[in-house]
């Protein structure tokens, strides 16, 4: 009965396919929408709220790129992906970019043929344990049962850590964060491990967050960042420099509050002028409008603002900047100059 509709849809889809252009940037512009891959739901990074609006730190990156390329931060189609489907979704062109707390590793960059366009969050894998357990270090976990939220490189780091310290453990890999948490709270595992940011986000939702501690060990480096397909350098540049624009904006003190007046006319700081397009032609070089960065920053603020809104200390997740502070404040965020 419905066959006809779908055949019809297929035909139309086939026709539409005929006009597809070569570069991702052109595709996005022609489509008028950015397809951005996110997680299926991790509070603080990417999760739909009660009204179905996607909110979060990764979401903000998507919105900034949409604002830079299309001028509209709302022109994003969020595609939820699981750990299993994210790479295929990106490789097959279903999404234009992936902003799904994905760790930048050698094999993903080289073997899977992706291009990481930077790091938007420096993370590391940590452990959470109930206070009542009386554990103060991950090295005391010999024989413990560990709940793992699968998806990133978590399982591998965990195996490496326990192997390096020559202690044994029992892994319980769980697909979704909510179920891992349920297991952990019911005492079906002693500790819960995933990226430290995720642990903080998870702990924030507990009935009694104070009863759980994050162990001091961070067992891995997890530079999380947006990635695009290998080989489309123009598009990679757009994503890379949009992220850099957010970081630079914070460094230069450009905020969503003052950007209106700063971008109205060229000011005294030439780098701000170049960033906001009141001087030079950086936008043109990228194939975007002159005020691309202005729009990207206006989408949800500079890096610091995005951080504070979604995962910062004032939010339930309550992460401190730590490694993710500007290099001027002792962090790792260091954007190449805009010139």
């Amino acid at each position: 009965m419905k066959k006809t509709v779908f055949l019809g849809a297929l035909t139309v889809a086939g026709l539409a396919a005929g006009v597809a252009a070569a570069g991702t940037l052109d595709d996005v512009k022609a489509r008028g929408k950015l397809n951005c891959g996110v997680t299926t739901g991790l509070v603080g990074f990417a999760a739909p709220d009660a009204n179905g609006e996607w909110k979060g730190f990764d979401v903000a990156v998507c919105r900034a790129v949409a604002a830079a390329t299309l001028g509209d931060p709302a022109a994003v189609e969020f595609v939820p992906t699981t750990g299993k489907t994210r790479f295929t979704a990106l490789a097959s062109g279903e999404i234009d970019m992936l902003a799904r707390n994905t760790t930048w590793t050698f094999s993903r960059d080289v073997d899977l043929k992706f291009t990481f366009t930077g790091v938007n969050y420096y993370d590391g894998q940590g452990f959470m344990a109930p206070k009542a357990l009386g554990v103060s270090s991950a090295k005391e976990l010999d024989g413990a049962t560990v709940c793992i939220q699968t998806g990133t490189t978590t399982e591998l780091n965990l195996a490496d850590f326990f192997r390096a310290n020559n202690i044994s453990y029992q892994p319980v890999p769980i697909e979704t964060n909510a179920e891992a948490q349920q297991q952990y709270l019911a005492g079906a595992c002693d500790v819960f491990t995933t990226d430290a940011s995720g642990l903080a986000a998870t702990r924030a939702t507990f009935e009694a967050p104070g009863d759980h501690i994050l162990l001091p060990e961070i067992v891995s480096k997890e530079p999380l960042g947006p990635l695009v397909r290998h080989g489309d350098d123009e598009w990679a540049d757009v994503v890379r420099w949009t992220l850099n624009a957010l970081i630079t904006a914070e460094e230069l003190g450009v905020t969503s509050a003052n950007i209106g007046e700063m971008s109205a006319a060229a000011g005294g700081n030439p780098e701000i002028n170049r960033l906001l397009g009141t001087e030079g032609n950086l936008g043109e070089m990228l194939g975007l409008s002159a005020d691309w960065a202005t729009k990207a920053i206006m989408a949800s603020g500079n890096y610091g603002e995005v951080f504070e809104q979604n995962i910062g200390e004032s939010t339930p997740i309550g992460l401190s900047r730590g490694l993710n502070a500007q290099w001027t404040n002792g962090g790792l965020l260091y954007s190449p100059p805009f010139r």
Partner: protein
């Protein structure tokens, strides 16, 4: 007739390809072949183009490289340094393990529920109907999640059993039920245990020999020997005797609550994910099997029972000798396809974190290597081999059981 339809030789017209029975089959098969080749070529070409454009390739080399992750429940030696291939084998064995366990218990639940549905006890009948309807009409994925949640919520954490003065005592001092799994003692085989095992095997052989003898005697002379208590006696007495004569060579390794501050150590541990999956699959499929059993028993016509009764058979014998053999003929084919369903449904282990093949090869390995096409292909190949194997057994059985009509 032939003179009407057979055109004379040599006057072949093109329209005959469509209208003449002799040629039409070639036309259709030709079209089908062309279409098939076209579709295959089209798809293969797309895959090739897409992969080439992305600079990817199809390669199974990742199977030989270290997997890098640990697995909770393994029946064969495995560590994070083992290869992905070995991880896949661990998954295969775990799949088969849960499938076999679930098949056995599902049959058990199904037969009991099916027989009770025909009970003359109104309450029991209705209860069983409720069981069957509730489990048949709710997706198995939801059942797996619900049962896993129940296990997690209802059973205590393993810390309740730990320490010098635990909150809970182990059942008989040997069994602990926690939401991480069930801990049971493992046998320790000391010197001389081989003799006990040998005696055990010998007694099983003895039981069969005795039953055979009893049956032959019955057929030959009509003399009926008891089978119930002698069977038990043959099974138990010699084994127990040897066990004590050899000086109790088989010990039990009980789970030790003091060895570790997190978990019980030693003995056998059956993980909660395995139990949840096993229970959910067997209760769910049990409901289907119950319906098959009921249908099978009802399919035996009442006249058969009455005829058997008229011959003077007692009701137990009517069931054993007349009804069941005929009912089984009806029950077994759908039963085997239910076994097939169980095997395929084990792939839902992914929802509870049990390390079956879908979770190792199709889960973590796929996740970490990103080799989606290769992993999914191997996964499908495995299930296909298993399913075809079971179907083949079913065909053999069906042929053997076919009513021999003369």
């Amino acid at each position: 007739m032939s003179t009407l339809t057979d055109s004379p030789e040599g006057t072949f017209r093109l329209s005959m390809l469509l209208n003449d029975r002799r040629y039409r089959s070639y036309t259709f098969q030709g079209i089908a072949l062309v279409l098939l080749i076209a579709v295959v070529v089209y798809l293969a070409n797309n895959v090739m183009t897409n992969l080439r454009d992305l600079g990817l390739n199809i390669s199974y080399e990742f199977l030989g490289s270290p997997a890098g992750y640990d697995i909770n429940q393994t029946l064969i030696d495995y560590s994070s340094q083992s290869t992905n291939l070995r991880a896949a084998f661990v998954g295969i064995i775990n799949t088969l393990l849960v499938a076999v366990l679930a098949c056995i218990t599902a049959t058990f639940f199904g037969v009991i529920a099916g027989v009770l549905r025909l009970s003359n006890n109104w309450l029991v009948r209705k209860l069983m109907a409720v069981y069957v309807e509730i489990f048949r009409n709710i997706p198995v994925l939801i059942w797996i999640i619900i049962i896993f949640t129940i296990l997690t919520a209802v059973l205590p954490g393993s810390r309740a059993y730990l320490g010098e003065t635990p909150d809970k005592d182990m059942l008989l001092g040997y069994f602990a039920f926690t939401n991480r799994g069930v801990y049971a003692p493992a046998p320790i085989w000391n010197a001389g245990s081989g003799v006990v095992v040998a005696v055990f095997v010998a007694s099983i052989v003895g039981i069969f020999a005795y039953r055979r003898y009893a049956r032959n005697l019955l057929y030959a002379t009509g003399k009926l020997l008891p089978t119930g208590w002698p069977t038990l006696a043959i099974l138990i007495v010699p084994v127990v005797l040897t066990f004590f004569i050899m000086g109790q060579p088989i010990g039990l390794d009980a789970p030790d609550p003091l060895a570790n501050r997190f978990n019980l150590k030693g003995g056998i541990q059956i993980g909660a994910p395995l139990i949840a999956l096993w229970l959910a699959l067997s209760i769910y499929t049990g409901a289907f099997i119950a319906e098959n059993v009921r249908a099978g028993i009802q399919a035996v016509s009442k006249g058969q029972t009455e005829a058997a009764a008229a011959l003077g058979l007692r009701s137990g014998r009517i069931m054993n000798l007349v009804v069941l053999p005929q009912a089984l003929r009806v029950i077994i084919p759908p039963l085997i396809s239910n076994y097939l369903n169980i095997t395929k449904n084990t792939s839902l282990a992914i929802a509870v974190g049990y390390a079956d093949i879908t979770a190792t090869l199709g889960g973590i390995t796929l996740n970490q290597t990103g080799r989606a096409i290769e992993c999914v292909m191997l996964l499908m190949l495995f299930y296909l081999v298993i399913s075809l194997g079971i179907s083949m057994l079913m065909n053999v059985y069906n042929n053997a059981m076919k009513l021999k009509e003369r």
